[in-house]
Subunit: 253 residues, 2 copies
Amino acid sequence: MNPEMTAELKRYTTPLDLGALKTACANCNLREICLPAGLTPHEVDQLDELVYVRKKVKRGDTLYRAGAKFDALYAVRSGFFKTRVTMPDGRDQVTGFSMAGEILGMDGISQDKHNCDAIALEDGEICTIPYSHLERLSIEVPSLQRHFHKVMSREIVRENGVMMLLGTMRADERLAAFLLNLSQRLNARGYSALEFHLRMTREEIGSYLGMKLETVSRLFSKFQANGLIAVDQKYVHLRNIEGLREIYAHHTR
Amino acid sequence: MNPEMTAELKRYTTPLDLGALKTACANCNLREICLPAGLTPHEVDQLDELVYVRKKVKRGDTLYRAGAKFDALYAVRSGFFKTRVTMPDGRDQVTGFSMAGEILGMDGISQDKHNCDAIALEDGEICTIPYSHLERLSIEVPSLQRHFHKVMSREIVRENGVMMLLGTMRADERLAAFLLNLSQRLNARGYSALEFHLRMTREEIGSYLGMKLETVSRLFSKFQANGLIAVDQKYVHLRNIEGLREIYAHHTR
DNA sequence: CGACCGGTTGAACGTCGTCAACTACGGTGG
DNA sequence: CCACCGTAGTTGACGACGTTCAACCGGTCG
């Protein structure tokens, strides 16, 4: 964790000052997908204690690094993040991309230190959720506990899906699955399901999908040639969602 | 979930009868690695409320299936399990192998239904942990809550490792990593780190590692030819752990 | 005993990685 | 403003690694 962040954490976690800087969850437009989902209005009020502190991040900023002490989770308010793990020999693997409403940092709980790096791929804002507060409040608000368990479990399920992707699917199936997943998540956030700008490079896509950037590039071209998508650098337009689904699910071999 | 199991759950979860059938966690020799690890003796006593119910399973039995209603976690007391996810088109992926002291079923929390199948690869015993009890007791025993979070987080970290494996490593590196991981986990449970019997088939290893059974078989032969291991069907003897570590970590290319 | 399942091994093939050249884009500084 | 550089992306040729298909072996169970 970088120095400013630790400082900021300290500043806002101990004596509960202020109201201006605090992001009242009750008013947050991400309530449905972020941590407090499923709470009654009364319970959401109690969340003020959780001291969600908003913080701006710039493209390239690191939320936390593997090995850094774990003391907080991060809820993405806006922006786009990647998480990645690195092997001793330097090879690394992107383990996920996160967007608004998703929670980062749960890997750190097990060992009190983070297991991966979380890096912003564009400017954005995050809410810092000190883990000790979450623990305390979970005891008082059972539905928060339940919801947090669901969030962690969802991450486990998501990773199961990625294992399936990496373990049994071919390169074109992986990329189709990736595009469909992005499309669905963007759509759930009110963006177009058919047109969007990729926030990550071909290399990052490749790392996530277990293939080389050249293969990603070639597949984009192939999909375009087949009329499935239109691509121009980071801009993507899904022209034939059903066709992509067929590649993903069926793949006539 | 199969019918008998649901019946058994119902039988033991509602009125807390008996002491004979209940597996007192306080006396369980897995205390260090299973759920209650990190609790004070007093707190462990409270765990009686959790109603860990022991149940025997036979090779081939299914603990739960994808889609089945989720209502309990399972702690492995003995035996060996695999979990797997299945795609609509029938292809499947082994997502993990579980042994004594490990917890199964956390994938079910997110949607109140299981996301994968859990299947016994040998006879064993499991403790059923009704999730509702765990939720209730977590509120009364903060260190149980904390420990459960750690268990879930550890699963996330483990899956990160598998993603690294599948995404960036070559077949021989994967198999070396797999053998070293097995060795280390068996050793932590008091078994030999150097000699063991595989409980799974070549196909299951291959599915887990994202390769075909023939490749697994060929690599076993190659490792044997290089003096790294001795294999005879399911029996494995690690002859040169350092050599395996070099393949796994360094891989002079 | 025969059938079946799990495992091993060989040969041919194909997908994807490697290496390399080239293009496009964006930011910086003269 | 344009020239320049570095980074990101595209495309081709070639080769390696792992898959596919197939034959064969050994143990186990009906």
